[in-house]
């Protein structure tokens, strides 16, 4: 077990972080907004943690072993607040656009941040920021920070889907105009959904900066936008479980394929495909899932059946109560 954990520590932490990033894309999508801005906020969060830990908490060249966890928590707080504030500004401007135009504007936002971080001095230019201090001796220990964040954000999204604000998101997704005429302010709720997603991405960025040890302009780029979108599309875009499952599966998939390729007796070409053609398989999988599971692997349909029986029971109880009153 210990051996397994130390071998796959990096992968497990990566899966958990991917699941949270997928949630960060799912939140605006709940309100019908296809935003690909998550990697941008992820990058911002990462730079905040990198700069705070290497330049503010520690003087140049100074080291503390291990780096205190409460510093990381503070960096996450700052990353969340700044990502959220930035999201309100970007959201108010960008969310006037709809559908594919919003997606394009958010890609532009990610690109602007990338160019900025490549050229600014305090982000370390093309080299970036390296030797970000480590709080743990082993990668697997990052789960102590990452898993609670996943659990909290999953619970948050689960509850959100069941209360007024979440219903307002979904009403906007279903029919923005009709939502407006029943008193839901679409701009407010779209910006709220976008901001919640941005905060999550910023928090993950702050963890990742330590986890990856270096941070530069290659973190959180357009490729990442597409990867996160794939997490949500493959996992499912109609319930909070979808992005979590999608993020974990797609992050683990390349490693699983590598392991399968190692099985003895496979034809050489096939083993080679599994090992080196991961991206081909990845692509084929995305195409197949979107064709055969248009709502993703985790569809609310099989969750719905239970809700339906609960609701009809409640109705029967209510009918019985009112019948009693009449007698």
């Amino acid at each position: 077990m210990t051996e397994f954990l130390s071998t796959y520590g990096v992968l497990l932490v990566g899966m958990v972080l991917a699941a949270i990033l997928a949630l960060s894309l799912y939140l605006p999508l709940m309100a019908g907004q296809l935003s690909l801005a998550s990697p941008g906020f992820y990058a911002v969060g990462g730079y905040i943690a990198a700069i705070l830990s290497t330049k503010v908490f520690l003087a140049d060249g100074e080291t503390i072993q291990p780096f205190p966890i409460q510093y990381i928590l503070f960096e996450m707080l700052v990353a969340g607040v700044i990502s959220g504030a930035l999201a309100v500004v970007v959201g108010v401007l960008a969310l006037r656009l709809r559908g594919i135009y919003l997606a394009l504007a958010t890609i532009a936002f990610v690109e602007i941040l990338r160019i900025l971080s490549l050229n600014l001095e305090f982000t370390g230019g093309a080299v970036g920021i390296f030797a970000i201090p480590q709080p743990f001796s082993d990668a697997i220990n990052y789960l102590w920070i990452a898993s609670p964040l996943l659990i909290v954000s999953a619970l948050f999204t689960y509850r959100l889907e069941r209360v007024g604000a979440g219903r307002a998101f979904i009403a906007i997704r279903e029919d923005e105009l009709a939502a407006d005429t029943i008193g839901i302010n679409p701009t407010y709720y779209k910006v709220l959904a976008f901001t919640l997603g941005a905060i999550l991405a910023g928090l993950v960025g702050a963890i990742s900066a330590h986890f990856l040890n270096t941070w530069n302009a290659r973190q959180g780029t357009f490729d990442a936008s597409i990867a996160y979108l794939a997490f949500v599309l493959v996992g499912g875009s109609r319930t909070f479980l979808g992005p979590i499952v999608g993020g974990m599966l797609l992050t683990a998939l390349p490693e699983v394929l590598r392991a399968v390729a190692g099985i003895n007796g496979l034809p050489t070409w096939f083993a080679q495909l599994l090992r080196d053609g991961r991206l081909i398989i990845y692509g084929i999988l995305i195409v197949l899932v979107t064709i055969y599971f248009p709502h993703g692997l985790v569809s609310p349909n099989w969750l719905e059946r239970k809700a339906k029986t609960n609701a009809s029971e409640a109705m029967q109880r209510k009918a019985a109560e009112s019948a009693e009153k009449n007698i």
Partner: protein
């Protein structure tokens, strides 16, 4: 508000779409507790007028006053909060949500606890959610859709979807209800039932109703007063009997050979 002042005033409202004048200088008042009919041939500008009143389409000129407040430039959600609810000619439900959730969503303006306290499941939020849920069930029972509470809205029959739209509008607890062709696609029997249903709602909820309808007998039997639009202009206003015998109305509905010869506007103006 006293009874003499009207609940809704439409003051010389004009709306142009490019070169087309959809609504042309229309003025009328709707009194509180009135069932007011808005009729006219296809493309007369009735729905555009509804869109102006609910803030979906700002007027090119003119004002709309509701309960002595100028609502001309308000957003649809602000107007909804003031107590104006509407249904749509082409049904606009939240198709993937259940019947109950559709009505529950419209309780939004009556929810005062914050999103955060709801997510955290604080007692006040839970209590409020329960009140809203009960209210939504009651409304579903009233319109006769309670047995479909858990069904997705898009799976309901056409007539039931229309009733669900009315239920969703009622969940706002409006003072003024705008119904855009509520009888479309209903048979004669259902239309008769609808007329009684609207009257019942009006009494039960102290509603003022503004209804767009093509079916003339329904309007005549239901409405206290009727406004007739033709090519965006108000051509008649008054009680049903008066309007029914108005030569301009007869001309608009049945056509007039001499009028045809000197067509006031090209047919394309009716969009």
């Amino acid at each position: 508000m006293n009874n003499s002042s009207p609940l809704l005033e439409v003051k010389s409202v004009t709306r142009r779409f490019g070169g087309v004048v959809a609504v042309n200088n229309v003025s009328f008042e709707v009194k509180a507790r009135e069932i007011f009919g808005l009729i006219g041939p296809n493309g007369a500008g009735k729905t555009t007028l509804f869109n102006v009143m609910t803030g979906l389409t700002p007027p090119t000129s003119g004002t709309t006053i509701y309960a002595s407040k100028d609502i001309t430039r308000l957003a649809p959600n602000q107007i909804a909060r003031l107590g104006i609810a509407r249904t749509f000619q082409n049904i606009r439900l939240f198709g993937n949500l259940s019947t109950l959730q559709n009505v529950l969503t419209a309780r939004h303006i009556h929810s005062h606890t914050s999103a955060l306290s709801a997510v955290l499941g604080l007692p006040t939020a839970i209590a409020e959610e329960k009140i809203n849920r009960d209210k939504a069930y009651d409304i579903l029972q009233l319109v006769g859709l309670a047995q479909y509470a858990a069904e997705r809205a898009r799976n309901l029959s056409y007539g039931d979807q229309r009733r669900l739209e009315i239920a969703r509008a009622l969940a706002l607890e409006p003072k003024l209800l705008l119904l855009d062709e509520p009888a479309a696609g209903m048979n004669a029997n259902e239309k008769h039932g609808l007329s009684d249903f609207i009257k019942q709602l009006c009494d039960q909820f102290n509603l003022t109703v503004l209804v767009i309808e093509h079916h003339v007998p329904l309007v005549m039997g239901l409405c206290n007063r009727i406004a007739v639009l033709d090519f965006g202009e108000l051509i008649a206003l008054g009680d049903p009997l008066h309007v029914q015998n108005d030569p301009a109305v007869i001309e608009a509905y049945l056509g007039d050979e001499t009028a045809l010869a000197k067509t006031r506007r090209p047919a394309s103006a009716t969009r």
